[in-house]
Every structure is written in C-alpha cells, then in structure tokens.
Amino acid sequence: MSTTLKRVHGYLAEFDNVQDLYHAAEHVRDAGYSRWDVHTPFPVHGMDTAMGNPRSILPKLVFCGGITGTTVAFILQTVTQTNFWGEKLGLKFVEDIVETYPTVVQAKPIDIWTLPAFFPVMFELTILFSAFTTLFGLLALMGLPRWNHPLFTSKRFAKFSDDGFFVCIEARDPKFSQDGTKALLEKAGGKNVELVEDEI
C-alpha cells in the first residue's frame, strides 16, 4: 500500500439503462476501439452486434471434446470386451497394454458386432466430455478464474452486479487518449466517467 506507483487501466463510464448502454456501445464500436467492454448485470440481447463481437469459438471446442468422448468410449469398450483389436486387426500390442479377461456372459457375441450394446456408454461419455469441455473451454476463453482485476478498485463498479451498466475502454487500446476517450464516453451519454488505476 505504501507504493504510490499506479498504472492506468482505462476509463469507466456509467449508464442509466440498457438502451443508453446499447447506443453507447455502437458509438464506441464505430469510433474504432478494440480493447473495451461493457459490463452488465445480465446478458443484453444483441449487445454482440452493438460491440461488433465475433461469434464464440466455444462450439468448435465442444465438438472436439464430444468426438473425444465417443472415441474413448468406443476404445474402452471394444478393447475390454471384444476380440476386435487383437484378433481381427492383428494389433497384438493392444492386448499386451490392457490385460483383459474376456467377459463371455449372457450369450452375447465377443466380436465387433456386439457394437450396439456399446452405444449407451458411447452416448453418455460423449455428453460427459462435451460438458466438461464446455466448462473448461469457457473458463479458458474468459480468462477466468481470476482473483482480482483493476476494475474492482472502482467503488462504483460494484453496482455492475446489481443495476449498473458500464463501459470500460482500456488504456491498452491503440486509440486510447486521455482526453479523446473521456470526451467520447461523455458524448455517448456516460455518467461519472472515471479513470481506473491499478496499483503496481
């Protein structure tokens, strides 16, 4: 606390309602800023367009996670339950890696044609892997968990989780300027425009 060295994080402006925020976001987008964000208590419908955000790539990650789940289930079940890998494909090393005692029960075949019996587990693992890819992919894309953030130094900002609507333009943005950015936010209808600083 004794150091007084501070780094500028950016300008934070408050808006009264969703409609003002939406129009302000369009202004900031059209001014050509790239490192900025709006902070709202709930997701605002259409805000991605107002900000010019691209679509999330999360579905692509989840697709890969799902395929992995299906494959894992297929391999797990065929290796441990059938003669497919060792006898049919001649991959003897698979049998060396995974020791199995064949489960010959219920008069069910032990070749690959017992595959339909494996569908439920393949389905469940597809869902399981997809769900966890969604969770961890989301955290990675958001850059969370994160214990602290310069924005939390602003007293006013705590309202974002209640009924506050904010725009923050970061100092890292190439178009950021001390006067120009402030003027833009005020012109867009922002109130209580404040400079957010981070202790370093």
Binding site: H39, P41, V44, D48, T103, I127, F132, L135, M142
Partner: protein, 485 residues
Amino acid sequence: MEASASNTPRILEREPLVLNNRSYSWITNRICGIVENKQPALWWILFIPSVLLSGVMAFCFIYLISTGVGVWGQKQPVAWAWDITNFVFWIGIGHAGTLISAILFLTRQKWRTSVNRAAEAMTIFAVMCAGLFPAFHVGRVWMVWFLAPIPNANAIWQNFKSPLLWDVFAVSTYFSVSAVFWYLGLVPDLATLRDRCRPGLKKFFYGLFAIGWRGGNRHWSHYETAYMLLAALSTPLVLSVHSVVSFDFATSVVPGWHTTIFPPYFVAGAIFGGFAMVLTLMIPVRRIYGLDDLLTPKHVDNMAKIILLTGTIVGYAYCMELFMAYYSANPYEAAAFTLRGLTGPSIWAYALMFSFNVFAPQLFWYRPFRHNMVVVMFVCMCVNMGMWYERYVIIATTLERHMTPGSWGEYSATWVDQWTFIGTFGFFMMLFLLFLRFLPVIAIGEVKGVLPQSDPHFDDHGEKGIQEEDLMAYPDRHVAKPVAA
C-alpha cells in the same frame, strides 16, 4: 412501416413474468436478502428434523454395512424391492429440474427463469439420494469402485453389455453435467452476493466461487454460448437417463417388464413426478420468503399444465400396458397384469398408483384449481406418493408373481427399508434448506434479463418493448434497429 403495422393485428398481450414492475435492485435485494438476513423460525423447524432424519439414514446404512444387506426385506424371488424403487423414484424427481433448465431454455420459455435455479438444485440433491440405494444394494459397498472402469489386478472389466452398467454411466454423467450446469448458472449470482458482502469469510468464499466474474459482455458472449451448449447437451441426456433406467427392466425377460413402451413411459413419469416435487418445494418457498412477484400464479399454472400433460401420458402408458397384455396373446404377460391389478397380493398398490397418478391430476383441467395453491399442493402430494407406488408396483409386485408359481413369494419391507427411505427425505430436505440459506434461490441475472426494460430496443417500440411482429420483420438479431420510414 406505420401502414403495415396497423394492418397486422397486435399479438395478444402476455402476462408479465415479474409482477408490479419491480426494478433491478428490488430483485437483487429481495433474492439476496434471503441469504443475508436471518432465516425465519420455520427454516429451523424444518432444518433440525431434517438433520436428525439424515442421521437416521446414516445409522441405517451403518447398520446395513455392519450386518449385511439382508437387513433389508428383499429375498428371493423379490431381489429388487424398496431400494431400487427408491432409486428410480429419486432419479425421476431430478428430471423435472433438467427439463426446466434445459428443454424449456431451448424452447425459449422465459418463465423458466424464476424456477430453474431451485429446480436444478433439487435435481442434484435428488440424484445424490438416488445414488445411495444401488451403491448399498450391491451388498459390499466397499467394493462399489468395481463399477468404475479402472484397470485391476484380476484383469476383469465391467460388463459393458449390461444395462446395469449403462445405468452407472448414465447416472454419473447426469449428476456431473447437472452440477456443471448448475454451477455455471450460479457464477453471476455469486458475484452479486460477493459484491454485497463486507470483507470477511463470506466475501472470501463467494468471491472464490464467483471466479472473478465482472459481467463483461465479452464474457457474457462466451457464457451464453456455453449455457446454450449445456442445455443442448442436457436435453438428450435427461431423456437418455430414464430410458437407460427403464432398460434395467425392459431388457429382461420378466413378464410385465419386457416391453418396448418402457423408455417413453418412464421419461414421462419422471418429468411428471419431478414437477410435482418442484411445486411441493416452491409453493412454500414462495410464500415464506415473499417471492410472490417473481414466482407468480402464472408459473404455477404452467407447471400444473405440464403435470396434467405428463400425467395423462402416464395414464395412457398404463392403459397401453394393459391393452398389450391382452392383445399380445402372451399368457404370461396377461397373467402378470391380472395379478398386478385384480387378483395379486398387492392390488392396493396398483389402485393407489392409478388414482394418484391418473385421476388426481385431472383436476388441473379446471383453471381455478390450477390457481388455488391448496389444490395444487394436494395434487402434487398425490403425485409424489403415486409415483413411488408406480415404481413399487413395477418392481416388487411383478417379482412377487414371477413366471413359475413354484417360485412365487410375498414381500414386506423391514424397518430398515422404511427408515432408510424416510431418512433420504431428511437428507434431501437438509441439502435443500442449506441451499436456501447460502445460495440465491432464484437466478437473479436471468430474471433481470426477461424484464421488459432489459430489451435494448425498449424505447424504440413504445412501452411494451419489442413485439413479435417486429422480430418477424427483422428475424436476424444482428440487424440494427429498424429505421422509421
């Protein structure tokens, strides 16, 4: 624009989802207040017996472990009895939570926002109760890890061709995915609680689980995609879980079990029983915590309609079972149903099942009954009991009268059976009450999102916000606001 607007009829005005024009901060204060203020006396009056009953459940399980699974009443030929009945009962309860959180989300039913949080919590707690029964039913519970596909010294792997193992995968996946879905939905609301706390232990823990959420739209964008993906994953999952549970029965050759109608019949029954439990929990919560503006009669009405629909599907399935028993000309199948409903030792259970599940919900055809909380609670209690009897009828009474009369037998539950089951209700209620105490019971962020003033085009379209006809004219939400001609 003006001319075309006057030619097209305005859509019917919908009942508001939040009554009395409540503001954002009113919603925050009301829901967070439940967690922040002292709990009402009734909370303690319910919580203490719940903890005691959980203790009874723990005692029963310890007694079972130390004595043997024979302390339960099942014996040949009734090898599956109360334990599997309770398992299917609890797992079915969970299904309504996922239906509300996933299927109603995909179908854009905005009223779900007021009930989804509590319903998802109910799902998770119900699945926890359900999982206990098969785990102890295996007999040697310390060997239950054998259900997991872990390489072991015997080189013996699970029988992946068995529906019982599919069940292990289905239920564990269901629990995991429901927990992920629930937690992800909680993150923004945990941030709300974090921002309201004074620094201290509470703020630390809410902050820890809020993972530094700051409501940025770049986050919301990914978050909403993730939420939709989880909803889309949970929808087939929830249908699969009870289908797989029904495979435990349907893939056997026992008359009365070996039918193709089981998967849809079980899924409908699960949703039916689950909605009854959601209402059983939410009607008192709404009254005790003053959430009448957020959980309106409209919500109760909608859920009552779902109970009526699924209850009628269940009734259809009961009748279809009887018809197929007759029409299949299979004497064993016909005998199974004659014994179940007419001449067997447990016809009382069949009668209770039929009247609670099929007749009681028919009251909901009449609108004033759907709006009378006493009637709704009465029907829900009937359904809660009826659905337990349904599983009892399917499981125990079928096994009492198997194929060969020489192996027929009678079944009666022991005190351990009974107290274990009663104990799980205590366990369930304890978890639910703790949830009410520490977490927001209604999804704060989601409810705010469905208020009319949350629409960015609220101003452009007069007081009512964007109307459906505007959306039809501009189906792509990426199109900027319509330019007035």
